[in-house]
């Protein structure tokens, strides 16, 4: 009889107990007696649930079980714990538990910040590039073909470079200009340099010398010197008696070659 009375007192005390906890902090409730079969926490299906409950420990008791619960409070106010539990066997609501859990706040309720609802944002394109790549590939191929066909059509003018005139060709041009009597100072200078270069090339032992040494040798060379000395006289000597008509025949071998 005494045992039954003590059990009633304890269960009544547990049933009507009210626990406080500040918002957002975990609170552990121990030895919560719930008669009947085992209970479990009703799974949360949305974010509106004001409490998050975890069952830490279940201890068998007479006609029921004692539970250690951990509660996270998410919304201020007084909440009945039984609303978040149901029997494991038939998922029927727990009626025999009157315990409440009060969530307190330091600031007035109406000043608490509420998290704003995130607006759905459309993600950038994460896939579907295959078509784009195919289109770009075709575009690139068309340009490539266009370049190839364009070069085939006009390529001959672009690719083939005119070979630089040889020393002999340049010399012939200037000699013919000189023979026509229309040679200017610049052309005369070019003509002289080309004749010197021509003779330097013609004589291998002179060709290997430095230009300075080569010119000294050319002025005394039996084959080169007649023309070179006359050329010097014609182009550089003051009051020269050598006329163009006298000098030009010396250039005739260069035209014939």
């Amino acid at each position: 009889m005494m045992k039954a009375l003590l059990f009633f007192l304890i269960s009544s005390l547990c049933s009507f107990s009210q626990t406080k906890a500040p918002l957002g902090l975990p609170e552990t409730l121990e030895e919560i007696y719930i008669p009947g079969p085992k209970v479990e926490v009703i799974p949360r299906t949305n974010n509106d649930s004001p409490l998050v409950i975890r069952i830490l420990k279940i201890k068998p008791a007479e006609n029921g079980f004692r539970y250690d619960l951990e509660i996270y409070a998410l919304d201020p106010g007084t909440h009945r714990i039984s609303e978040f539990l149901h029997y494991a066997t038939d998922r029927s609501p727990v009626q025999s538990l009157d315990a409440t859990f009060e969530v307190t706040t330091t600031h007035p309720l109406d000043t608490l910040p509420k998290p704003s609802d995130p607006e759905p944002v459309e993600l950038e394109k994460l896939g579907g590039y295959k078509n784009l790549i195919i289109v770009l590939g075709i575009f690139w191929l068309l340009i490539f073909l266009a370049i190839i066909f364009y070069r085939k059509k006009y390529g001959t003018d672009l690719v083939v470079e005119k070979p630089l005139p040889t020393l002999h060709e340049k010399l012939q041009v200037l000699v013919s200009v000189a023979s026509q009597g229309e040679i200017n100072d610049q052309q005369q200078a070019n003509l002289e340099r080309l004749i010197l270069g021509h003779w330097k090339e013609q004589i291998p032992e002179i060709d290997s010398l430095t230009p300075a040494r080569a010119l000294v040798e050319l002025r005394s060379h039996p084959e080169a010197s007649p023309l070179i000395l006359k050329l010097e006289e014609w182009l550089h000597a003051p009051n020269t008696k050598l006329s163009r008509e006298e000098f030009l025949p010396l250039l005739s071998p260069y035209v014939e070659k």
Partner: protein
Amino acid sequence: MTSDKTSHTKTATYLADIRERVGRIVVGQDVVVERTLIALLTSGHLLLEGMPGLAKTLLVNTISKALHLDFRRVQFTIDLLPSDILGTEILDEKSGEFRTHQGPIFTNLLLTDEINRAAPKVQGALLESMQERKVTLGAETFSLPTPFLVIATQNPIEQSGTFELPEAQLDRFMLCHRLGYPKPEEEEEILRRNLKLGVEKKGEGAVARTEFDLVTDNAVGTPQDLVDAMEATHEIHVSEVLLKHVVDIVERTRNHPDLEMGCSPRAGISLLKASRARALIQGRNYAIPEDIFALAEDVCLHRIRLSYEALAEGKTPQAVLQKILNDSIS
């Protein structure tokens, strides 16, 4: 016309006599003698690059005596001051007034040995005086004697403790000649002559004679002959075609891909002036391409600078310049 020809022949003989006189004492430096005369006749300055012991001092000494010119030599060192070259004002204790002491620059021929050993301020002071031909000491400006020629030497090997002349300063030298060693037969002649020098008795003692003892004070010709030769140089004919040749070479140095810095207009002027002097020395009254090509290296080489790419490829300024000259006649 006949008078001109006679005068020209006289000048050519005078210059040939100088070369002959120098050749009696200095063996195998005919080109350097020619370059020195070119510098003298055109009022340019000469930089000689070469190893010690190539008779540079003897050469300049001999030329100065042959031309009856005053000659001084200064060995450039790191502790040399501009006043050691130019001169300074000294307080005369007796009179209590400042007295001007003119430095060795007040001469006709100044040999500055190892110019790159002196600090840049000394180099700068000398090169300014070379350019302006004037020296200011205190409040007074003095003109340098005429003719005035600086022959500077540089040792191309020893570079530690030297101050390389910058391009702007090098440009003031009309010619930069690189002295080479004499040929074997010339070297033999040097040794043969040296063996015959003998000993000179002095008082009770004696001293071994050197080549310097052979230098006599007997001048070739008179100072007026030198003035005439300088005037004759300016009368040497330069054709329009020759001008084109000079411009062509100068232009090529400026546009060559291996060169970071080509020749300055001063290089073209120097090339032309030097060509005139060479023509006179060679006995011609007009300059020809041979003169330009013979002098191109001495006039242009110290005025050009290789690009970093060309340096990295192991090219030398000399090779690049020879390539330019070769290209100009091909």
